[in-house]
């Protein structure tokens, strides 16, 4: 068999309707199982396992996740459109619809690959220029400069693996990750246990891995790491440390009159402008506790620009590729804190364009085909 023959066969297989049908059937299975799993695993974890994955495991059997399945559909559809399109009038609607489908899948890929999302909490009169990503962790080392802005060095999830060494020229020490737990629990060490080289919280507590929580319960990430001072004169800070999310007492390090705090926390992403909350308003349907509307009045500050903006349900703020949505609020006696969802998504226009394209295509196809299909007797050829 020649190379050409093999290539032709592969292409023929990839663009075959049979493969498309099996891929769609498999997607149906994935969507069904993934949806049921949300009841126990929660929405995010089920999504990670079944929909935002290349492979998932059924016991010891590896099965394709939604990414490769949709990839197969995308490749097949592209090949079909490029190689097999017959430009007959009757097929115009079909071609346009499938092209729209491709655009939708492409938008989905861009969103999955490049979008970031999180939330911003702003109290009355407060200003925010970062949003917190709920499902992404970071180890943040903050140098408290005593000036208006502290210096922060953060290490994302790819660095939080055993034996990773975290160092930058700005830090007078390096961090070597010993263990990382996506969910952990602190356990007090037994009295008399030798401290060894453990420092701070780690001197009194051990961190142990905990089972992944069920449903939407939050997990508490934890990390155990070693600190090695770059300058031998600062060897007093060397030792093993432990951190977990939202620790009541912050872990600090002091060396050469520089003060640092260390935290394991939800990743914070800066955006290139800031938002100041003027007021948050909520209203209820009269005589009930049922919300009728939430509204945040904010000042958008960008350099010299200072613009009053209202963010409310179904009316987000879009600015410089970022979008802010009214998501929730936290009641406080001194004034409610607004919670905004923040998203940066380069592919956000694709669904809009693709839906228009697909609908035009399907409409054309329907207008051509449906009268024929509804009539009682087939028209004579």
């Amino acid at each position: 068999m020649t190379k050409n023959n093999i290539a032709t066969r592969i292409i023929s297989f990839l663009k075959s309707s049979e493969l498309f049908c099996f891929a769609v059937l498999w997607l149906i299975v994935l969507v069904f199982i993934g949806t049921l799993a949300q009841r126990d695993l929660g929405l995010f974890r089920a999504q990670q396992i079944f929909f935002s994955s290349f492979v998932w495991w059924w016991g010891f059997i590896p099965l394709p996740g939604a990414y490769p399945t949709m990839g197969v559909v995308f490749i097949g559809l592209t090949l079909k459109l490029v190689l097999d399109s017959t430009w007959k009038n009757g097929k115009l609607g079909v071609w346009i619809t499938h092209f729209g489908g491709l655009l939708l899948l492409l938008g989905g890929f861009l969103t999955a690959a490049f979008s970031t999302e999180g939330s911003v909490m702003i109290g009355p009169g407060q200003t925010a220029n970062t949003f917190t990503q709920e499902h992404r962790l970071e180890l943040a080392v903050t140098e408290q400069t005593g000036k208006e802005n502290d210096q922060v060095v953060s290490f994302g999830p790819v660095w939080l693996t055993p034996k990773s060494i975290l160092k930058t020229p700005n830090l007078p020490f390096e961090i070597q990750v010993d263990r990382f737990f996506s969910n952990s629990e602190p356990v007090k060490k037994a009295p008399g246990t030798p401290a060894g080289d453990s420092k701070g919280f780690a001197a009194i507590f051990d961190l142990r891995p905990a089972a992944e929580p069920k449903g939407e319960e939050p997990s508490v990430a934890g990390i155990i790491f070693k600190v090695n001072a770059t300058n031998p004169a600062d060897a007093s800070i060397n030792g093993t440390y432990a951190l977990f999310e939202d620790m009541p007492i912050t872990q600090t390090l002091t060396t050469q009159n520089r003060h640092f705090t260390l935290e394991i926390r939800k990743a914070r992403t800066p955006f290139p402008f800031s938002l100041e909350l003027v007021k948050f308003e909520k209203s209820f349907h009269p005589g009930t506790g049922m919300a009728r509307a939430y509204k945040s009045t904010v000042i958008l500050k960008d350099g010299n620009l200072s613009q009053k903006v209202i963010i409310q349900m179904n009316e987000p703020l879009r600015y410089k590729g970022y979008t802010f949505f009214q998501s929730s609020f936290i009641e406080r006696p001194e004034g409610d804190i607004t919670v905004l969802s923040a998203v940066k998504n380069v592919g956000w226009t694709f669904p809009y364009i693709s839906s228009i394209v697909m609908c035009i295509g399907l409409l054309i196809h329907l207008l051509i085909q449906t009268p024929k299909l509804i009539r009682k007797v087939e028209p004579k050829q």
């Binding site: 997607l27 009841r39 009930t288 956000w348 669904p351 809009y352």
Partner: protein, 631 residues
């Protein structure tokens, strides 16, 4: 906190019940039907209930439906029942209004099992009172941990509290207090043998102190009848102090500019101090209905009712549009959906008869009946949209009504093309079944309820939700055609041509279904992008919509690719009904994600039965047809 709240609620109930039991009469002694007071004017009085200003008739109707399962009772309409509940407790508490269909619940309450399953408030109160410790424990449990019967008992307790709250709405303004003993009257500073209301007594600041002193002071030499009168007064007084908190009967429109949204109940008005001369006049009219009701003075009742309506309209004019209130009463009074159901059933019966005798005339009659049913259906839906000023679908109930109409409309289009009764059969069958289901939802409360903030947008309700529900309708139509194709192939092998035509229609319908389902799903994604910042979040409701689209895509492409023959394709289309039912109702049962607002607890069994029957049907006919033709 929740437990405490429940406990308080229960203690109020128990207090109320003890009052209800006072002078209890036997259940067999059923109250007479009251005379026919004119309720038209009163029915148009606006009331704020569950966040919406609605006519009093709607308020009465939704509560009677919730308690009794029907919108009329013992020859009385909902307004007559409400007025009896407000003005004549002796009869009202003995009227059998509570529908307890679960025999295990009646057993648990110590009530006799009874044909018709209807029980009076007095009977229910007695049953709940005897089980109060058990009920207290049930209130402390989570809903999911309780059995179906236990949930019924909790619901009954809540309903009885609500009923009592309604019944107590005006009681504090009626002259229910009085003593025969001149000695006691003098000690309390009131007139003997003269009725006086709680609200009047409350103005007399020394009354409560005097009553308390008399009750506790054993030095006064009182005879047994005097002691009994004092105990009665105390019992009433304690109970009525609870009634001061009743808020459900919010018939008093906002009085002051700064309180535009604040509608008050009569008792709420007194305790808030937000009254005005106009509200005093308004309340006096409500009070004066008391005497006319008890004296059965129909003429005076009508006159006062008219005055009340004029007062209510004058006071609420800037906020309430009277024409909408009147329109809602027309909608309720005419009961369009029940009438459409009747005509759908009639169309189906006439069509069935036409298969046995005189086909032409009966077929024509069935066709007309379907059209009349569809007209009622459409008018009812348009009226709802006009009253609520919002698109046709915003709740689960409305989606059922709308999907029913969509199937009927497409069936009518199909029939006008084919003219062979196929459309009549499908329209009458699907329209009838879905209207029956929707009528069951009416008993769960106001079907025109207010929406959560994120849903309160007419643009997206008019586009995404309407498209998705049209998609549901078209899918069911496709599924029905699938049923017909399989039945025809199995039962009438000679009619292959007709079966092929049905199959072709089914393909056409599936394309329309795909168009609306896909467009609706994408629009939903865009709405989610606008509201929550992401086009797709793999939320169960989104996944449900996606499943429909994927399933239709699979069936259409598999048929085109020759992977599915006509029989398998039709069986697949029958299974579309299962996919749609799961997407429509099933995902709500998961109670996960941002779309979990439509949770319904009693549909799991019905859904399970439907899905099983449809799956078995598809499997059986697929196998049977293939065997028959040795495919």
């Amino acid at each position: 906190m929740n437990t405490l709240k429940n406990t308080l609620r229960l203690s109020f109930l128990v207090l109320g019940l003890s009052h209800a039991l006072y002078g209890a009469e036997t259940a067999e002694n059923l109250p007479p039907t009251p005379p026919e007071f004119n309720m038209k004017a009163l029915g148009e009085i606006p009331i704020l209930h569950e966040g919406r200003v609605k006519p009093l008739y709607t308020f009465a109707r939704i509560h009677l439906l919730a308690f009794n399962g029907k919108s009329s009772l013992d020859g009385m309409n909902a307004m007559s029942w409400l007025m009896e509940s407000l003005y004549d407790h002796t009869s009202a508490f003995r009227r059998r209004i509570f529908n307890i269909a679960d025999p295990a619940a009646t057993d648990a309450l110590g009530l006799e099992r009874r044909e018709g399953h209807r029980y009076s408030f007095e009977e229910l109160a007695r049953g709940l009172e005897s089980s109060k410790d058990f009920l207290q424990k049930l209130f402390e449990m989570k809903e999911n941990d309780r059995t179906a019967t236990q949930n019924t008992l909790v619901e009954l307790a809540e309903k009885s509290v609500r009923y009592e709250e309604i019944s107590q709405s005006l009681v504090l303004f009626f002259p229910n207090y009085g003593v025969h003993s001149k000695k006691i009257a003098t000690l309390l500073g009131i007139e003997a043998d003269h009725g006086i209301s709680f609200m009047e007594l409350r103005k007399n600041h020394t009354f409560e102190t005097s009553l308390k002193a008399l009750y506790q002071d054993k030095t006064k030499k009182l005879d047994d009848s005097e002691k009994s009168e004092i105990e009665n007064l105390v019992s009433h007084w304690v109970h009525d102090q609870q009634a001061v908190n009743t808020q459900i009967f919010r018939v008093i429109p906002p009085q002051w500019e700064q309180s535009q949204d604040v509608w008050l109940s009569p008792t709420g008005l007194i305790s808030s101090g937000l009254g005005s001369p106009a509200t005093s006049q308004y309340l006096r009219l409500w009070e004066s209905l008391y005497d006319t009701y008890r004296e059965k003075d129909l003429k005076a009742w009508s006159e006062i009712s008219e005055k009340l309506l004029i007062e209510a309209q004058n006071e609420s004019r800037p906020i309430v549009r009277t024409w909408r209130i009147q329109l809602e009463n027309i909608y309720n009074g005419f009961d369009f959906f029940t009438k459409s159901l009747t005509f759908y059933i009639l169309a189906f019966l006439l069509l069935s008869l036409s298969w046995l005798m005189s086909p032409k005339r009966l077929t024509q009659a069935a066709w007309v009946s379907l059209l009349v049913g569809a007209s009622f259906h459409l008018v009812g839906l348009v009226l709802r949209m006009t009253i609520m000023m919002r698109p046709p679908v915003s709740t689960l109930y409305e989606s059922i009504v709308f999907v029913g109409l969509i199937i009927v409309v497409f069936s009518i289009i199909l029939e006008s093309f084919r003219k062979d009764t196929l459309g009549i059969l499908m329209g009458s069958l699907a329209g009838g079944v879905l209207q029956m289901i929707s009528l069951r939802y009416e008993t769960s409360g106001d079907t025109m309820g207010m929406l959560a903030a994120v849903l309160d947008t007419n643009f997206w309700l008019a586009t995404h939700v309407v498209c998705i529900t049209i998609g549901y309708g078209c899918c069911f139509l496709t599924g029905l055609l699938g049923h017909l194709y399989l039945i025809l192939r199995l039962v009438k092998p000679n009619e292959q041509k007709k079966a092929d035509e049905i199959h072709r229609n089914m393909v056409g319908a599936s394309l329309i279904a795909l168009f609306f389902s896909m467009f609706g799903t994408i629009l939903g994604g865009i709405w989610a992008d606008q509201s929550w910042g992401r086009f797709w979040g793999w939320d169960p409701k989104e996944n449900g919509a996606l499943l429909i689209v994927l399933w239709l895509l699979f069936l259409i492409h598999a048929r085109l690719a020759g992977m599915l023959g006509k029989t398998a394709h039709a069986a697949g289309m029958v299974f579309t009904n299962v996919v749609v039912a799961l997407a429509w109702f099933g995902v709500n049962l998961l109670n996960v994600g941002l779309h979990s607002y439509g949770f319904t607890s009693n549909i799991a069994i019905n859904l399970g039965v439907f899905c099983t029957v449809e799956t078995l049907f598809a499997a059986f006919f697929f196998i049977a047809v293939r065997r028959k033709y040795e495919l």
